[in-house]
């Protein structure tokens, strides 16, 4: 319960400061150097380390670049957004209901495949995503070579190679954050295509979702979650975006009339 309270506070806080700093969510698998990157960007000294209790607490920090102010939210490290563990729920709920302006997914370059699963799940929720391909130095040492340009093309979103512990790639990451936040770069993520039976179900469900919730939630993603029996998400929706639904539904009824 305490966690939900926290979540609601965060979302509310974000609502109050609308138009002020740009909110950036920092997502990623555990042990990818998220906290190191958080420290590198904000100049804070957050304890870096990985243990289960840490994940439930969220930390945030501020930084500026050029004329923009940013608020960086460090999300718990998760492997996916599908399973129902507490930390995954926190991360998912923030991406979904906290509606960050921008999401950075920190990715471990030494095991890209596993990390991409999370990237693909995040881009299903929100399109404004930047991949921070971290631990490039370690990958190089292990003889792993990644075609960064091609990776960016296949994902449809910016991919910035970094070695956060050495500060490498941070300036180019900052520039990309700026470009996306002012709309100079518009990420267009390549969506995962599902087998036809699932795609059919998605197209059956999407109109109803759009009608009920408008654009305050990604309809394709919600359809997938419903197909996956994640009905718990619906109660989260009720909890977090109730007033908006009311406005939407009213608006839609007026338009229809």
């Amino acid at each position: 319960m305490g966690r939900n309270m926290k979540m609601a506070d965060l979302i509310q806080e974000k609502g109050i400061k609308q138009g002020e700093p740009i909110t950036i969510a920092l997502a990623g698998n555990p042990n990818t150097g998220k906290s190191t990157l958080f420290n590198a960007l904000t100049g804070l000294r957050q304890h870096t380390g990985n243990w289960p209790g840490k994940t439930v607490l969220q930390t945030h920090g501020y930084f500026s670049y050029k004329d923009q102010h940013y608020k960086l939210m460090d999300l718990p490290g998760t492997y996916s957004l599908i399973a129902n563990s507490a930390d995954e729920e926190v991360a998912r709920d923030f991406l979904c209901f906290g509606r960050p302006d921008l999401t950075i997914v920190v990715v471990d370059a030494t095991c890209l495949e596993r990390n991409l699963n999370l990237v693909l799940q995040v881009t299903e929720i929100t399109s404004r995503v930047i991949v921070c391909l971290n631990l490039m130095d370690e990958a190089k040492r292990k003889g792993i070579n990644i075609d960064v340009e091609r990776l960016g093309e296949s994902l449809g979103i910016p991919v910035i190679p970094t070695a956060a512990s050495k500060g490498e790639g941070i300036s180019s990451l900052l520039k990309t954050i700026y470009d996306v936040s002012v709309g100079r770069i518009i990420p267009q993520p390549v969506m995962v295509s599902y087998p036809s039976n699932i795609e059919d179900m998605i197209s059956c469900l999407e109109p109803g979702i759009i009608k009920t919730l408008g654009d305050c939630i990604n309809s394709r993603w919600l359809a997938l979650r419903l197909i996956d029996n994640d009905y718990k998400l619906l109660s989260s929706i009720q909890q977090y975006i109730k007033p908006e639904i009311a406005i939407r539904s009213k608006h839609f009824q007026e338009v229809l009339a």
Binding site: S80, G143, V192, S193, M201, G208, I245
Partner: protein
């Protein structure tokens, strides 16, 4: 909100109409990620991780995963059973040398017979048997098991078992909590906290007791060694004993899965959740440290618990055996009440009594049994392992069926006091604590009655 409920309803209907498997979504994402990786990543020299990947590909493969698991388990038991014979015999010789010396001492100083009986024949003899029968198997088994744990094999076991648990409708992490149960069921139950869904956690807790813990392994290994192992010199006998124990462990896992499945389809219905399991890198086990830690932390801990409870129990059982009501001892009266249900299960009243008296800790079931047999009137001189076998077979008419049923009941009966206390603390529900005791007990009774009936019915003895 009505709109949301109608969406939920619609989704449910759609899932019913379309052939849909929950894995399809995850699989599509994984395939997509694999496709991108294949196009963008090139590896020059895979080095150590490449080696690990190759090991993992074999150790967790469909073809080799289970044979390797069974093989490693069997290897550990074989080393334990073969290796434990000699130190067990040596310890028995040593202790019964001391007993003779103590008896002499008592006679020299004209100590009253009941003091000698209570302390030497009760407390000392009971404790001596616990130590010589249980210490060697534990001192070999625990370090071996810890080595396997330390090398990083247990997550691979969980990986292999995941599909089985999912088929049973429960969480794959239950494979991990089950592995913890091999160490100690109470610890296994605490480890169930890693399962997030309350339904799946409860199933994991209720079924944790089906795998034998530290306290029950020595009973299984000792009985298998005595009844299926034959003489220490016959390695074929040791192989047979190994096979019996390994099969019993497999049976424990099968029971875990079967009961989990039944529970998830009846009392605790629901879907299995997904989870990600990271296979940690293999590490060279720190052999020295592992041996020291597992002997100090596990062997001596379990041993200590057994001795602390066995010593007074030895005294109490000596009193029970020597308190006569009419011309029958108190312990025989208690055992005779249990004799009829016990016979059905292929046991005898003393065995069932030992299980009941062993409630505080499973370690003492076998010692209590030995003590109650020993004190049952005719005081035979028991000074070697071979004579322990005679005590069971000649004096109390055990057959291999009796041993098998005892082992089966050791595998499936109520959890020990500590475990039950832990379950009550974790679930805060007496109902589920009682269920946790009832489920394995009923399963064990059914299993024993079935095996006993089958073997007797088919005249296999």
């Amino acid at each position: 909100m009505n709109e949301l409920h109608s969406l939920e309803h619609m989704a449910r209907e759609l899932c019913k109409q379309n052939e849909y498997d929950r894995d399809q979504i995850v699989e599509s994402i994984y395939d997509h990620a694999a496709g991108i990786t294949a196009n963008t990543v090139t590896c020059l020299d895979l080095g150590r991780r490449g080696f690990e990947n190759r090991v993992d590909n074999v150790v967790t493969s469909r073809l080799w995963g289970f044979p390797i698991m069974f093989g490693l388990l069997a290897l550990i038991f074989w080393i334990t059973i073969t290796g434990a014979n000699y130190p067990s015999a040596a310890l028995a010789d040593l202790f019964f040398g001391w007993e003779a010396w103590l008896t002499n001492l008592c006679q020299t100083y004209h100590v009253p017979a009941w003091v000698h009986g209570f302390f030497v024949l009760g407390v000392f003899r009971g404790t001596a048997w616990v130590v010589s029968v249980m210490l060697p198997p534990m001192a070999i088994f625990f370090p071996l098991f810890t080595l396997l744990e330390d090398a990083g094999y247990l997550p691979r076991v969980a990986f292999n078992m995941d599909c089985l648990f999912k088929k049973a409708g429960v969480h794959g992490k239950q494979a991990l909590t089950m592995c913890m149960g091999f160490g100690c069921n109470a610890a296994g139950i605490i480890s169930c906290r890693i399962i997030n869904s309350p339904r799946e956690r409860l199933i994991a807790i209720l079924t944790n007791n089906f795998v034998p813990c530290n306290g029950r392994f020595p009973t299984l290994i000792a009985l298998a060694g005595i009844f299926f192992g034959g003489s220490a010199l016959l390695s074929a006998g040791n192989l047979a004993a190994t096979f019996v124990v390994a099969l019993l462990v497999v049976l424990g896992v099968v029971m875990t899965l079967a009961v989990s499945r039944v529970l998830s389809q009846t009392l605790l219905q629901g879907e299995a959740s997904h989870f990600t399991l990271e296979l940690p890198p293999y590490r060279k086990p720190r052999v020295g440290e592992v041996i020291i830690r597992s002997i100090l932390d596990r062997t001596l801990f379990v041993m200590g618990r057994a001795v602390i409870i066995a010593a007074p129990a030895g005294g109490i059982i000596w009193i029970m055996a020597n308190t006569m009501i009419g011309d029958v001892s108190l312990i025989s009266i208690c055992a005779s009440y249990l004799d009829i249900p016990a016979q059905w299960m292929g046991l005898d009243g003393f065995i069932l009594l030992a299980f009941i008296l062993g409630m505080p800790a499973n370690e003492i079931v076998l010692p209590i049994l030995i003590m109650s047999y020993l004190s049952g009137g005719a005081m035979i001189e028991l000074d070697s392992l071979a004579e322990l076998r005679d005590l069971f077979v000649v004096e109390h008419g055990w057959t291999w069926l009796t041993a098998l049923c005892t082992m089966l009941f050791a595998l499936c009966h109520w959890p020990c006091g500590t475990t039950l206390y832990t379950i009550q603390k974790e679930q805060k529900s007496w109902k589920w604590t009682i269920m946790a005791a009832l489920i394995p007990t009923v399963a064990g009774i059914l299993l024993c009655v079935l095996v006993n009936g089958l073997v007797s019915g088919l005249h296999l003895l």
